[in-house]
Structure formats: structure tokens, C-alpha cells
Symmetry: C2
Subunit: 340 residues, 2 copies
């Protein structure tokens, strides 16, 4: 299998991107990786750390930074590592997909304009895996930020794509799909949720279980949580902010507490560390752009080698399980459902 | 000062409502409380626990339960403790306000139909106080659930009312007001946020500081966070859900950890307990219905006496600082701003 890696864009790239690629080819014998990026910078890192022949470099003259305005950058920096990575994957079907830790907005824009939408999808979305209270069980929140304003049909597409995604990435059969709402009972919600509800009820290819309140999304009872990108962004960032806050409050409370509490704090450090990695969105799988005709995984901006390697393995998994084919088949099904 | 208390509705009412009223009159010499409720049930509790003359009962024959449909209950149960409490406060201006731990939807409905809107306000909202990382510093989230779909003018009203509220309840002068969005930069947001932003910029009576991302609402840097009730509900419940999840994960991790970790867990118990009460929305002030012509405080459904007493004190504070007058003055100001 061949995968393309955007060598630039993340906080610790290109070093960690290259090291992540090395980890991946060492773990997977049949894997080849092409790193898009500045050869002069990447070649020495590669030469120092790897002497195999499974990683090659495709030279690019430009880099998209986090300060770039997505639409302008994608239009103007045609020889950037990100745009070139997606173009290569799109043009050469021997590539299974792309990993990038770069500017999220630019990656979404490049996905849309270079990889193009899957027929029938008007709004691709960004699907991150989030932790639950159940160990090693994730759920996917679609959309978590690509589309601030959505129509019911967009949410229906997110539901179908999220469902195919959970099957392909985690092997969940018949994943439960819920819509994020302000109450669990049917009939609760804003206009968008109320209009989307019957559409999801009538979508035969998904296992729709109704509304879910935001307080219950981490319980592990839901595999796919559907919402517009604005609400999804609020849920996602509230989880991050609250988890950080709670851990800081515990730390402060121990720091300002009695000597016994301070000792207790030292003793539970491993537990807190484990928790930190559970709640850390960076430690989860990368976010995947769903709805474009290419497997594109967004690694977190602060990814180090291990996380880049996990994202590469995510592309392998999604490609092996034919996620794009699955999405296309299920989408053609919902057109029939909607006509009934 | 005279305050009306809905004697029924909460999980531990009427007992805890009565005990809360007793706590309040014992703390505040000039306070009188009228409890609306079933005299046959409430009188014995009162007689057993109190022999003063500052608490009286106004008998009602009906009770609104959590299973009642709000609009139907408010229309049909005219002699319910909740509806009667609000009607009495509305008709007799010697009452400073109302506290109820009952059905939130019914309380909002009764507030709207019985207490009536303040002139100029089309959508009253529910304003809960939420904790921040800074000890004893709260912020208010408006709206947190009364209005699932909003227009920019509604959000402008929430901003002005939230600002008056923070001044009156916590004595914050010139409170910072931010709008909840999916990015901090100006220009980020869904259509509603983008349309509301310039309105808030032009509202002279508030100290508008721009967008706030959901991950930053608990930092204590913002006094008032404005949003539609759907997004507010998601933020509020994600905070609750995440805080619970993090605490459960810590507990599990300690439970399944080494003996040293278990000992550590025992030692930090006081810190965790303190944290629990900081993050527990029930421990904060009650939610206040803003935008109706009466001070109405919603105690949490699971309130015990101490929490009921705090909500009564919240009415005292809001009444002493003329929150309704402040809101009316500031609202008349924004009509001029909007015309510019």
C-alpha cells in the first residue's frame, strides 16, 4: 500500500513527520510512503534516521502555514506540500490516501477543491474520534467544524458517512447514530434538529437511536453523534476546556491542600497522566475529512512521530475496509429513502 | 423584604423548600417568606421546625410535576403552587421575587404568560451561573436553553440583560461580554454569530470583547457569554458530562491502579470533593429567568435546604440592586444604538 504524507504544516514538522513515516514503514512491511515537502530539509532528516527504500520524497517549493488564509493559500500555493499531496493522491489511484498535520481550514479547502466531493455530497465534514468513559471505545462527532451552517440533508449525509466510518475504522457493526439535541425526547431540538430527525428515522442504512443530550455523548452508548459544525465545535472544545479545567482544579486543590493531600497527589500522578492521555484529543485517531473522493486524515497540529504513525495506520485501515466505496453505496441508498 | 417560594416541584420538596425558607429568615431579619403550596402538607413541616412569624403559607390545590407538559400545565393548573407564586408576585409589588425548584419548562412558560415580558424583549432567557478556574468567580451563560432558535436581536438582549445581571448579582462593574463562536477571530461563526457581532459592537451599554471559543469559557476571563439557547444547552451539558466523566475516569484509574495509587486516592479525597462541588451546577447560584417583569429564580430540581436558601438570597441581592430597573434602562438605550 502507498500513502502520501504532507511533510510540513504541523508544529513539529518536518522532523516528526519523517520520524512518524519511518515508524509506520517499520511496522508495516507492505507499506510505502511518499513525503511531499522541501527535499533539502527532509532528505537529511530521512538520511540520518532511515536507510531503507520504502520512503521517498516528492519535492515541493511551497508550504502552507497556519497563518495562511485557507482559500487564498490553496488557490495560490499550488506547489505547496499539502496541495501537492492531495493532488497526487487524487491523480494516482495507487495511493491509498493522505495524512497532513497542517492548517485545518486549508486542508478542508484543498480536500474540496482538489480531491473533489463524492457525487451527491454537497458538504464534506470533519470527523474526529473522541474518547468515552469506556476504555478504548471512541465515538465520532460529525461535523465538528467544517460547516457552521447546515441543512437537514447535510446532517443526513454526515450520519451515513459517520456510520460507514465507524464500521471501517473500528469495525463497529451496525453503529448507533444519534443527533445532538437539547433534550432526549423526540420533538426536542432547534429547527434544524426537528427537521433532520424524520430524515434520519427514514434512513435505512443507519441504526438511528434518536436524540442525545450533550451530557451523554461521552458515555460510550453512541457510536456516531451527528450535528452541524458549529454545535459540534462547541461540544468538542467544551470537552477539551472542561477536561483541562478539572485537571487544573485538582492540581491546585492538591497544591494548596494539606501535606497529606500533597503526598496523595504524588501517588496518583500515574492515574492523572493516564487520564490526560485519554482525554487528550491529540492522542486519539486523527480527524478524517469525510465526503471527498480520497481518504484524507488530519493529524493534530501538535502531533509527534507516534501520532503521525497512528494517522498513517488510520489511512491503511480505512483503505483496507473500502470506506469510500461503502460511503458511495450507502449514499445511493438514501436517495431512494428520501424519495419515499 | 417579602419573597414567594414555590413549595413544591423540586425532588426534595416540600420538606427542603420549607427548611430552606427557615434558614433564610433566620439569616435575614427583615425577610418574610410566603410559601405557596398545599397547606395540609406544608403546615406540619413548618410547625415542627419553626415557631417564628416570618413564614406564612398561601394554600394551593394543585402541583405542576416534572412529567407535566409545560404549556398545558400552566394553562390548566391555575391554582398550582408555581403559577400562583408568580401571579402573586406579579400582582403585589411588595413581593421582591419568586423562587421555584419545579419543572423548568413550566417555570419559563409561567414566567412568560403570568409575569409577562419586559417591554421590548421578545425572548426571555434562562441565565445560570457557571464556575470558572478562578475560585469564587462565576460567569453567566445566556441563553442556556429557553430559546432553541434565536435572531440577532435576541442575542443582543441577552447580552444587555446578562451584563445587568452580573452587575446586580456579583457586583461586577463593566462585565466583559463575549459571544460563543467556533473561532476567536472576528468573522468566525455561523450566520447568527456573524450577524450578531456588529450589533454587540454597537451596543454602548455593554463591554463587548468579541468571540470566545467554547474551550475558553471556563477561564474566568469572560463575565457574560452570549449564545442561542441550543448552543448554550450544548455547552452547559458538555461541561456537566465532561466533569463527571473526568472524575469517574480518575476514580477508575485509582481503583484499578497500584496500592500506592489507592492510598493516594484516599489522601486526595478532600480535593476531589471540593472539585465536585465547584463543578456541580447545583452548588452554584440558581438560574434566573431574564427578560420578564419579575425576579424569578430557578433552583435546581435536586436542591436541598441550603440551595433553596441561596436562591432566596439571590432574589434579595437582585432586588436590592434593582436588576429589573437596570435592564429596562439599558434596553431603552440599545434601541437608540440600533437606529444609528
Amino acid at each position: 500500500m502507498k500513502i502520501i504524507l504532507d511533510g510540513h504544516g504541523g508544529d513539529y514538522c518536518p522532523e516528526q513527520a519523517v520520524l512518524g513515516a519511518i515508524q509506520a514503514v517499520q511496522k508495516h512491511n507492505d507499506l510505502e510512503i511518499v513525503i511531499c515537502g522541501n527535499e533539502e530539509v527532509i532528505q537529511p532528516i530521512l538520511a540520518t534516521n532511515y536507510n531503507g527504500n520504502k520512503i521517498s520524497i516528492s519535492h515541493c517549493t511551497e508550504i502552507i502555514t497556519n497563518e495562511d488564509v485557507p482559500t487564498i493559500a490553496v488557490r495560490q500555493k499550488k506547489d505547496s506540500s499539502m496541495v501537492k499531496a492531495i493532488r497526487m493522491a487524487k491523480e494516482d489511484s495507487s495511493f491509498a490516501g493522505v495524512v497532513s498535520a497542517g492548517n485545518t481550514g486549508a486542508l478542508l479547502t484543498a480536500s474540496l477543491f482538489v480531491a473533489k466531493r463524492i457525487k451527491g455530497i454537497s458538504r464534506p465534514c470533519l470527523a474526529p474520534s473522541l474518547p468515552t468513559v469506556i476504555e478504548d471505545k471512541c465515538f465520532v462527532l460529525v461535523d465538528c467544524g467544517a460547516n457552521a451552517d447546515c441543512k437537514p440533508i447535510n446532517l443526513q449525509h454526515f450520519a451515513v458517512m459517520g456510520s460507514c466510518y465507524m464500521q471501517s475504522l473500528y469495525g463497529v457493526s451496525n453503529p448507533t447514530v444519534a443527533i445532538l439535541s437539547n433534550g432526549q425526547e423526540k420533538g426536542k431540538g432547534n429547527e434544524l434538529v426537528k427537521e433532520t430527525y424524520p430524515l434520519l428515522e427514514n434512513t435505512k442504512s443507519i441504526n438511528f437511536v434518536g436524540n442525545v443530550e450533550a451530557r451523554d455523548i461521552l458515555t460510550g452508548d453512541y457510536d456516531v453523534v451527528v450535528c452541524d459544525g458549529f454545535s459540534g465545535n462547541i461540544a468538542l472544545k467544551t470537552i477539551e476546556g472542561t477536561a483541562l479545567t478539572v485537571m487544573r482544579l485538582i492540581k491546585n486543590s492538591i497544591k494548596n491542600g494539606s501535606i497529606l493531600q500533597k503526598i496523595g497527589g504524588l501517588l496518583i500522578k500515574p492515574a492523572i497522566k493516564k487520564l490526560k492521555s485519554t482525554m487528550d484529543v491529540n492522542e486519539q485517531a486523527g480527524g478524517t475529512v469525510l465526503g471527498v473522493d480520497c481518504i484524507i486524515v488530519k493529524a493534530h497540529g501538535s502531533s509527534k512521530a507516534a501520532s503521525i504513525c497512528r494517522c498513517i495506520e488510520q489511512v491503511i485501515m480505512l483503505a483496507k475496509n473500502n470506506v469510500l466505496q461503502k460511503i458511495k453505496e450507502n449514499l445511493s441508498g438514501i436517495e431512494d429513502d428520501n424519495e419515499v
